[in-house]
């Protein structure tokens, strides 16, 4: 009974600290590591690269990163639920082509934007239909839709390269705050990020996604409507891609059939680097956001110093490889250490 008194006293002491302890438990160590790396690179670049610390960097860097950031949010959700969407760049291109062809015909930008979003919804819904209801493996299905949507972009806009978008729209998208350099569209992006965090980390849908990633049967067991969830995910991915397409067109002032070609691999690389496991069931939105920013800062620093993109490409590949090999080797070393310490304990008991 005296023991329990001591324990009670101890528990009270721990109660204050246990909030932080719980938070510390919940915080993903890998995300923390990435965040430290991000700050580290920012500091390193600020010190060693002339002109890096400036509002111009903030402006240009953020404008460059927005499409990848937006696409990474929904791609993370999809990969966490053990699927993949390779058609996102083609949907960006198709939206861009839609906007371009409508503007070329002389119609209003509002109509073009609405049409683009509708196109994204439909494209995503078709992906979702193929994967969730027909039951096709998403890797294969989205390779097919990657070709299909890019092909439709060609049908829609042909070989035209459309420019001359309405001033109000382009100046908003390309505009930046004079004081901080932050682009005007950033609040919208932040809303998207918050939305993604809430969906994944604070909603039943998000828990369902993790369950799906772990095992389809387990998800069904806990009451997830597997087909509907996957369908909605792909619709969201398509819609996000069309939003990215709208941004793309207005930011560059150009709509072509090959807009954003090849972007899907960049996005997937960034998401994987952010700690999302390709097998599903693991990963966080903050981790992905930090990872995208990290790659953006590294890339920006390289380019500012005029270091060749060849180096950048090799480093991106090595980082990707290291991101899975590293934890794996770390795991194996820990296992070795654990087993050897267990052996020692066993032998010392004798």
């Amino acid at each position: 009974m005296s023991n329990s008194k001591v324990e009670v006293v101890n528990e009270n002491k721990l109660d204050k600290g246990s909030f932080f302890a719980k938070a510390w438990e919940r915080v993903n160590k890998r995300d923390l590591f990435l965040l430290l790396a991000l700050f580290g690179v920012i500091i390193l670049n600020s010190i060693s690269i002339p002109n890096f610390s400036s509002i111009t960097t903030v402006g240009f860097l953020l404008m460059d990163v927005i499409p990848i950031l937006l696409l990474a949010l929904t791609t993370a959700l999809i990969i966490i639920s053990a699927e993949i969407d390779l058609s996102i760049a083609s949907i960006v291109g198709l939206s861009a082509a839609t906007i371009g062809s409508i503007i070329q015909r002389g119609d209003d930008m509002l109509i073009a934007a609405g049409a683009a979003l509708l196109v994204g919804l439909i494209a995503g819904a078709f992906n979702g239909f193929l994967v969730a209801y027909v039951g096709l493996p998403s890797l294969a299905a989205t390779i097919g839709t990657l070709a299909l949507y890019r092909g439709l972009a060609l049908v829609v806009i042909g070989d035209a390269s459309v420019g001359n978008f309405p001033e109000e729209w382009t100046s908003f998208v390309q505009g930046r705050s004079e004081l901080t350099g932050i682009p005007f569209v950033i609040p919208v992006v932040i809303v998207m990020i918050v939305w993604a965090i809430i969906v994944l980390h604070a909603s039943p849908l998000g828990r369902g996604l993790y369950a799906l990633g772990y095992s389809k049967e387990a998800a069904k067991f806990v009451g997830v409507n597997v087909e509907w969830t996957k369908f909605v995910l792909f619709v969201a991915s398509g819609l996000m891609a069309s939003i990215a397409g709208l941004y793309w067109v207005l930011r560059y002032g150009s709509a072509r059939s090959d807009s954003a070609a090849g972007l899907e691999l960049t996005v997937i690389a960034a998401v994987l680097l952010g700690g999302v496991s390709i097998f599903g069931g693991r990963g966080t939105i903050p981790g992905v956001v930090v990872s995208v920013m990290l790659i953006a800062v590294v890339t920006y620093g390289f380019r500012l110093q005029r270091i060749s993109d060849v180096i950048l490409v090799i480093i991106t590949g090595l980082l990707l490889i290291a991101s899975v090999v590293g934890p794996n080797i770390y795991q194996k070393i820990r296992e070795k250490l654990d087993s050897s310490s267990r052996n020692k304990k066993a032998s010392s008991v004798q």
Binding site: N10, L14, G17, S18, F20, A21, W24, E25, L32, L35, L36, F39, G40, I42, I43, S46, I47, P50, N51, F52, S53, S54, I55, T56, T57, V58, F60, D64, G158, D159, A160, S161, G163, N164, T170, Q174, T180, G181, W248, R251, Y252, G253, S254, R256, S257, D258, S259, A260, A261, G262, T299, Y300, R303, L304, R306, S308, D309, V310, V313
Partner: protein
């Protein structure tokens, strides 16, 4: 148990303080630096000129840049080259941004897209930089260095075709990418000439795109022969396209039956002249373009010229030039190659 939780609390506190410190430092650095104006570091005496070609891993580009290096060295300017590894519409924007931020005074660019590069280029010009386009024009520049007058490029190729097959028959055009500004201006001039010149009664049955890709152009050439068995001639105003088409014709039963003209690199086309697949083709010395751009850039930066029509300046070994309408400068005449002179042009190489 409590020992473990104490350890956890400690490591959490440690990590938290590291993060907070890093955040504070990087934000402070950013805030500090954003106060200072972006005075470009480095030599104020040596003017720097940056070349941004369509893409870097491209033989034609390499020849152009060779001339640029030569010109810059002659004028005592620091030569810089940056660029992407792919020729997409948006690929050049980050590199233009780098030059804006580094305060480069002279930017020479071969635009991948006439409008996508403009927002960034306008920022460069607002910051006092002079922008020269070469090879492929955009809207927002001070001067455009055009290797050969578009009409002359078109007429030369048409004349070479006429000399081989006469004025009648089916012909096709194998171009590069559908939205390349230089391609489209040459093809437009060709079609205009065919329509207006009574000697040229050809039927242009197809216009296909090889996307500046060797294998794709090869397949497109195949497709042309498939779809139009009576094809008498192919015009390919792209060094990648003409070489791929020549390779296909030379390895097939169509060798010698279909005339091939266009723009080609002499070292690459030499084997096809020798084996009779191609009788004549044309081009210019791409290094002259880079060389002239360097001189034009220096003249602009010095204030010797402002880009207005009628102004003149000297460009080293190329002699003196007068600026034409809309800031256009023509480098020189079309060079035509055939069996007699092909061996003299081995120097047009990287």
């Amino acid at each position: 148990m409590s020992r473990a939780s104490r350890q956890r609390k400690l490591s959490f506190k440690r990590a938290f303080s590291v993060i907070a410190l890093s955040a504070a430092v990087s934000l402070t650095l950013g805030a500090c630096a954003s106060g200072t104006p972006e005075a470009p570091e480095g030599s104020a005496d040596a003017l720097s000129i940056t070349y941004i070609p369509k893409n870097l891993n491209n033989p034609y580009t390499t020849v152009q840049l060779k001339g640029g290096k030569e010109g810059a060295a002659e004028l005592g300017m620091t030569y810089l080259e940056v660029g992407a590894l792919d020729a997409a519409a948006d690929s050049q924007v980050p590199f233009i941004q780098t030059e804006v931020q580094n305060g480069t005074k002279i930017i020479v660019i071969a635009a991948n897209d006439p409008t996508a590069v403009c927002p960034a280029l306008e920022e460069a010009r607002a910051g006092g930089a002079k922008v020269i386009t070469f090879d492929s024009d955009a809207e927002c520049r001070d001067l455009f260095i055009n290797q050969v007058d578009e009409k002359e490029v078109a007429l030369g190729q048409l004349r070479q075709l006429f000399d081989q097959i006469g004025g009648k028959g089916e012909i096709a055009i194998l171009s590069a990418t559908a939205n390349a500004p230089n391609q489209n201006s040459w093809i437009k001039a060709m079609r205009e000439e065919i329509a207006s010149n009574p000697d040229y009664e050809w039927d242009v049955v197809a216009e296909v795109y090889g996307d500046d890709d060797d294998a794709k152009s090869f397949q497109e050439a195949q497709g042309l022969m498939q779809a139009h068995p009576n094809l008498k001639g192919i015009i390919s105003p792209t060094t990648v396209g003409i070489a791929a088409t020549a390779r296909y014709l030379s390895t097939s039963e169509y060798k010698g039956k279909v005339a091939l003209v266009g723009l080609g690199l002499p070292p690459q086309m030499k084997e096809f002249i020798k084996d009779g697949t191609v009788t004549a083709f044309a081009l210019w010395d791409p290094s002259d373009v880079g060389y002239l751009a360097a001189h034009a850039g220096k003249a602009l930066a010095d204030g010797t010229i402002t880009g207005a029509a009628g102004e003149t300046f000297t460009a080293g070994r190329l002699g003196s030039y007068t600026i034409g309408e809309n800031g256009r400068i023509i480098v020189g005449p079309l060079l035509e190659f055939n069996a007699e002179n092909i061996d003299q042009y081995d120097y047009i190489t990287f």
